[in-house]
């Protein structure tokens, strides 16, 4: 089996079989990162470009390490400003990159749909590393990989996603992926941060954290962007931390064996209390480790691997 599309633009477009293929492949790549010599020749002679229009440390580094461990060449392009401000359009930048014949372009952009525009214009494989508030498919895949490895399954689990759902691409991609894989997804956040008609994505929405995390197998906390305070989406960080953070008290509502996840970077003491982030339920660093394996799997599959 192989992937149907040349691109990974969103979880929405992936089938259950494709997700399973990616997760299985990622499981098999996990071991490479534990070797003494953390490198296999699989993608020797291939090249991957990281085209990042938005700041990122974790995701960009993870893609770069994934490519290098597969012996691909990697190039990082950071554009600190949008294409409009910079003067060259995204399409022109992308066509110039295409002319240099890389194999895979990884793009992060603040505008939803930017990777889709490239995918329709370029022959290369495009991987969406986050587009606006739309999708962040590799994050959802590494989250599903982490859940599957900890719980042995995804189907039937109760997952709570808590925070600024409106502006979260992590939430959207996870909602698509987890519901496809048979989990029940509950979202919670201030009513001002629950996007309209969110239930149409197949979730149950609450405006209190307690209702969402009750009996949850998985509690996924989202980073709160402090600038949302100025948009009157919540009154103050203090109030948010008091009523929407995951802490020692409310975690008792979740299942005793629940796991706590966070896509990072953490606002310690805001959406998650430090003792929970570092506590026994937390799998936050596993997520980071699995992120490398998931990205190795995608690079491998998109360059023709798994073709048998």
């Amino acid at each position: 089996m192989k992937l149907r599309s040349k691109d990974i633009l969103g979880i929405k477009e992936l089938s259950v079989e494709e997700i399973t293929l990616i997760l299985d492949t990622a499981d098999s790549f996990l071991e490479v990162s534990t070797r003494e010599i953390k490198k296999v020749p699989t993608l020797r002679g291939k090249s991957m470009i990281n085209l990042f229009y938005e700041a990122s440390t974790r995701t960009r580094t993870s893609f770069e390490i994934a490519a290098k461990r597969l012996s691909a060449d990697t190039i990082n392009i950071s554009a600190s400003t949008s294409s409009v401000v910079k003067g060259e359009t995204l399409i022109d930048t992308a066509k110039n990159i295409e002319a240099m014949n890389p194999d895979i372009i990884v793009i992060r952009h603040s505008a939803a749909g930017a990777p889709h525009m490239l995918a329709s214009l370029l022959k290369q494989s495009i991987i969406n590393a986050g587009d606006g508030a739309h999708e962040h498919p590799t994050q959802a895949l590494l989250d599903m990989m982490t859940i599957r490895s900890r719980k042995g399954r995804i189907a039937g689990l109760k997952v709570a996603i808590v925070g600024d759902i409106s502006h979260s691409r992590v939430a959207r991609s996870n909602i698509h992926g987890l519901t496809k894989m048979g989990a029940r997804v509950f979202v919670a956040g201030p009513a001002t941060m629950l996007p309209r008609d969110i239930e149409s994505l197949g979730v149950v929405a609450y405006s209190r954290i307690d209702e969402a995390i009750r009996d949850a197998d998985i509690v996924m906390m989202l980073r709160i962007q402090t600038e949302r305070e100025k948009q009157n989406l919540f009154p103050s960080l203090r109030e948010y931390a008091t009523y929407f953070s995951l802490n020692r008290k409310n975690i008792a509502l979740a299942r005793e064996d629940c796991i706590v996840m966070h896509p990072g970077p953490l606002n310690r003491g805001v959406e998650i209390s430090p003792d929970i982030a570092d506590g026994p339920h937390s799998v936050i660093l596993d997520q980071v480790t699995n992120g490398v394996a998931v990205r190795m799997a995608l690079l491998y599959l998109l360059t023709g691997g798994g073709n048998s």
Partner: protein
């Protein structure tokens, strides 16, 4: 010059005429219409056009276009927009003032009229700005603008947020017997949005413009129109809420008229999946329920006019990320065929459709157009109801190729546009 239009189905809602008839045109005017007219009296050999199986209607009027000149000639010019107009069946168009400079002065109004006369295709009626530079703080010189040839006032593209100012505009314009055309959008509610707020926006992660951003402003302006007794025209209605509010206001006797655009009854926000920037327009493409309400509003007369909101843009304005793309779609050359689908769908009878594209906009703008009565200017559109064609944006006369309808298969097309007795477009 004499023209005899023979044997077409003549539909003229201004006189409640619908039947096969001949139409005689002399010296730019309609001389007479009737069954089997004799040839012209003055010129013995008129050009005779055999219009059997064609429909003959008053020259179509599009009361909401953007011609981009002066200032944005790379998007459209008065000449290219006029070519698009007659190719789309429109003998008369009104153009919005959001040019650069804004049409808030006699000199810009006169410039537009001069350019339109020079290219000599369609009748072009400038709409001037309500406020200086459309900044929403000071009234423009309505009286002087009227004398220069403006036929109405609008700050289209944005709402005048100051309710007191729009009240004064309504009062002052009413004293001049001029319509005020309002773009209804509360900009605090719409701020940052790029598409209709709803399930599709939530899934795509694009910032939403809620329907209430329009409804709130429609409600305010209806109350102001009721209070002042002035005539109010509401541009590009896109929501079910606005249709309901306007329906209620009309039933109370408020002097309000309203228009919608073909994209609001032809597309929904589902069209934005795939991030095609040609679907980015303000007001945004709405939900299925809104689309249905627009059709009901057209059907029951709540919405008086179909206008294209022709908004041409260059490729460079649209071939960018969705968030950064310019808003609007080019409409003059698809407006009529899309509207004709309403007849096929049973929403409107054909004469009712023609009423909304001829005599209704003429009455709202107080221009002597939209009729085939004897003595009227010979502005006539001929339609081939059976012509099947495919929208090909590369063939548009407009400089703007930004159409989400590219590739749509249409039935029915304007095939001849006569302006002042002269054939300005012919596709037969």
């Amino acid at each position: 010059m004499t023209l005899l239009l023979k044997g077409g189905r003549v539909v003229d809602p201004s006189r409640k005429v619908d039947g096969v008839a001949d139409l005689l045109i002399e010296n730019g005017k309609i001389v007479s219409s009737g069954k089997a007219l004799p040839k012209g009296k003055k010129s013995p050999d008129p050009e005779v056009l055999d219009l059997r199986d064609k429909w003959v209607v008053p020259g179509l009027i599009d009361m909401h276009t953007h011609l981009r000149e002066p200032g944005f000639e790379y998007k459209e010019t008065i000449a290219s927009g006029s070519e698009a107009a007659v190719a789309g069946g429109f003998s008369s168009i009104a153009c919005m003032p959001n040019t650069d400079p804004i049409n808030d002065s006699r000199s810009v109004t006169e410039f537009i009229r001069r350019k339109a006369t020079e290219c000599g295709l369609a009748n072009v009626y400038p709409i001037a700005a309500i406020t200086v530079k459309s900044e929403g703080s000071l009234l423009s010189e309505f009286w002087d603008l009227k004398d220069a040839g403006a036929i109405g006032f609008s700050d289209d593209g944005k709402s005048v947020m100051n309710a007191s100012l729009i009240r004064r505009a309504l009062e002052y314009a009413a004293s001049l017997n001029m319509p005020v055309i309002v773009h209804c959008e509360d900009k605090n509610l719409s701020a940052g949005g790029v598409m209709h707020e709803g399930a599709v926006a939530t899934e795509l992660g694009l910032a939403g413009i809620p329907a209430i951003a329009e409804d709130v402003m429609v409600a305010r302006d209806l109350l102001l129109a009721e209070y002042t007794g002035a005539a109010l025209h509401i541009a590009h209605v896109s929501t079910a809420g606005a249709v309901r509010l306007i329906r209620e206001a009309k039933s109370r006797g408020v002097r309000v008229t309203a228009e919608t655009a073909p994209h609001y009854f032809s597309l929904t926000d589902e069209a934005l999946r795939g991030f095609d920037t040609n679907t980015k327009v303000y007001p945004p493409l709405r939900s299925f329920e809104d689309c249905r309400a627009i059709r009901e509003g057209l059907s029951d007369g709540t919405l008086d006019v179909i206008a294209s909101d022709h908004a041409p843009h260059a490729r460079t304005d649209k071939e960018v990320e969705f968030d950064y793309a310019a808003t609007g779609l080019t409409g003059l050359e698809t407006s009529f065929a899309l509207s004709l689908r309403l007849v096929a769908d049973g929403v409107l009878a054909f004469p009712d459709l023609i009423e909304k594209m001829t005599i209704n906009p003429a009455r709202i703008l107080r221009i002597p157009k939209g009729t085939l009565a004897a003595g009227a200017d010979a502005d006539i559109t001929v339609i081939d109801p059976d012509r099947e064609w495919t929208v090909d944006r590369t063939l548009f006369h407009s400089r703007g190729k930004n159409s989400p309808f590219h590739g749509w298969v249409m039935k029915g097309k304007p095939v001849m546009t006569i302006v002042g007795g002269v054939i300005r477009y012919r596709d037969v």
